[in-house]
Amino acid sequence: MGRESEVAAELIAGFEREHPGVRVKVEQLPWTAAHEKLLTAFAGDATPDLAQVGNTWLPEMQALGALEPLEPWLARTPALAAGDYFEGIWATNAPGGQRVGLPWYVDTRLMFVRQDLLARAGITEMPRDWTQWRAALASLRQHGMDKPILLPTNESAPLLALAMQQPGELLRDGGRYGNFSGPGFRAALSFYLERFQRGEAPGVSEVQIGNLWQEFGRGSFAFYLSGPWDIGEFKRRLPAELANAWITAELPGPNGPGQSIAGGASLAMFKRSRHKPEVWALISYLSRPDVQLEFYRLTGDLPARRSAWALPLNGATLAEDRHAAAFHRQLERVRAAPAVPEWERIEKEMQLAATRAVHGVTDLDATVRGLDALVDGILEKRRWMLDRKAAA
């Protein structure tokens, strides 16, 4: 999907050389249409043999019963050891206790920082916890920077990442009810809202910012929470004299370096496939460390396997790369969002509720309570199904 699908064709040429007699047909989909397309393909009995599936879609696809459980296949393939994968990411691929996806590439969110601006404001150390982060933002403001951090209100990821740092679950009782009024989410949301209330973050959506890279280059803000794709974008779009002015850094947590979101995409085999051994051969091929590194070279997508990070790359390793290193460390501390098919919708509602709170429409308490009521409604069918299964 997206850029990956264009590149996949190149990788697959290598696979076909190694497996004469197997021909792979790649169908390219834009990300925006992929989810719909996969669901309609399932409804129309026309699922592919193998697909790239976003981590967050796996629970839904698994609930549909569309995906082949991979444990038996993994048991036969010692090269694909669980220990070579980042733990938090590995966990997202087994919704409902059943492994249905193999991580292909990984992502998470962390800070993109203009360290030159921090240095000018007298901040020598990268903030590692919330207290230091607060102090850094305050001092940037004192040094004349109006809005030192950008948290686009149409993005749910920054708030979700902060929520992931908190103990406790976002959904309680096995994903039956919302737990947004619990202490964990309250703490995350109040830290998030504080950034807007103190005037450190502009209450705008990404659309209103216009050209994000240009603004980052101009120094309109010093902190931006984003994913690995922006490494390439910033390298390409920022002027050459700023090449050493920015860096990536792990997300500060409440007390020391914090958790972030376990994201990325997986390779999944469909139950209705009639070429399962060939599909598994292709999955294994795409998971080989050297192929994973090649994939990184072509797309900038971070490899899912630790051994790929340790391979030589431009005279060093990916784990030592100036901008990827922080991701490497952050990926050891990632946590998955609740694995329920309804999650994507819940996350959207969370973001909408937070936006209303940012604009002062509701206060913190009303926001989390309203959110819980809404989420309980969304999960009604899930509760009914779980109860029915328990009764049977």
């Binding site: 669901l39 019963g65 149409n154 705008v204 959506s205 659309v207 216009g210 909408l352 069918k381 199904m385």
Partner: protein, 298 residues
Amino acid sequence: MKHSGRESLAAWAFAAPALVVIALFFGVPVFAGLALSLTDFDIYALADLRNLRWQGLDNYIHVLSLPLFWKALGNTIYFVVLGVPLSIGVSLAAAVLLQSKLVRFKPLLRTALFAPVVTTLVAVAVIWRYLFHVKYGLVNYTLQSFGIDPVDWLGDPHWSMPTIILFAAWKNFGGNMIIFIAALQAVPHDLYEAAKLDGARSWSQFRYITLPGIGPTLLMVAILTTAGYFQLFAEPYVMTQGGPLQSTVSVLYLMYEEGFKWWNLGLASAVAFVLFLIIVAVSKGLIVMQKRLTGVEA
């Protein structure tokens, strides 16, 4: 008797292909949609039909109790109430202008004014998004040169809908303009000449000759435009995705999100039927209103 029976049989035979097509591609989907709206068909039911529950009218009750539905309906009505008169007004003004003897280069003007209708909506929506960009847009640039503060057209919840109304009116007025031009040409010329002899000014001519003359066309255009505008979807889908703060979520956009984003096809079908009933009621209302008005005037 026998003769006419054969004739009606032949008539049915000729109509049959069309009827079959209508039944297959219109009747069946509509009834399937109606049936769907009485169930909670969703992703779980897609996996296993035993997960389907009969909901009766619950979906409808749920839709009507959804704050977002009322917000979407409010947004849609805002769009219709402001957009329809604006759109028709601009169409009529353009048509009258093109009929006027004072205007030159009529074919060129007519083509230029009609051009927005034949352009692709998505492509021009993207261009409008640039025009109305808060920092780099031409509109704010122009305003600033007059000393007016920039307006966040698509990002401010108060301005997003007016901007979309403006866009829709610009995109659609050409079609109605052509219809009005045809209607204006059908108004007898001697009426204007008689009026001129009586000393009627151009406004009186317009009010007492043109308007009554194109009355039926006006009603038809009003009904078609209203029904069309109630189905607002593509503009917010491309320009704002329903935002900011859900200020541009229309009823149809809500249906799309429920149905194809969250896969609650039961609820989405219920939204569709509620919208259908609203459109029928409003169109009926317009016809009744017209009858009253013309009845009083006659």
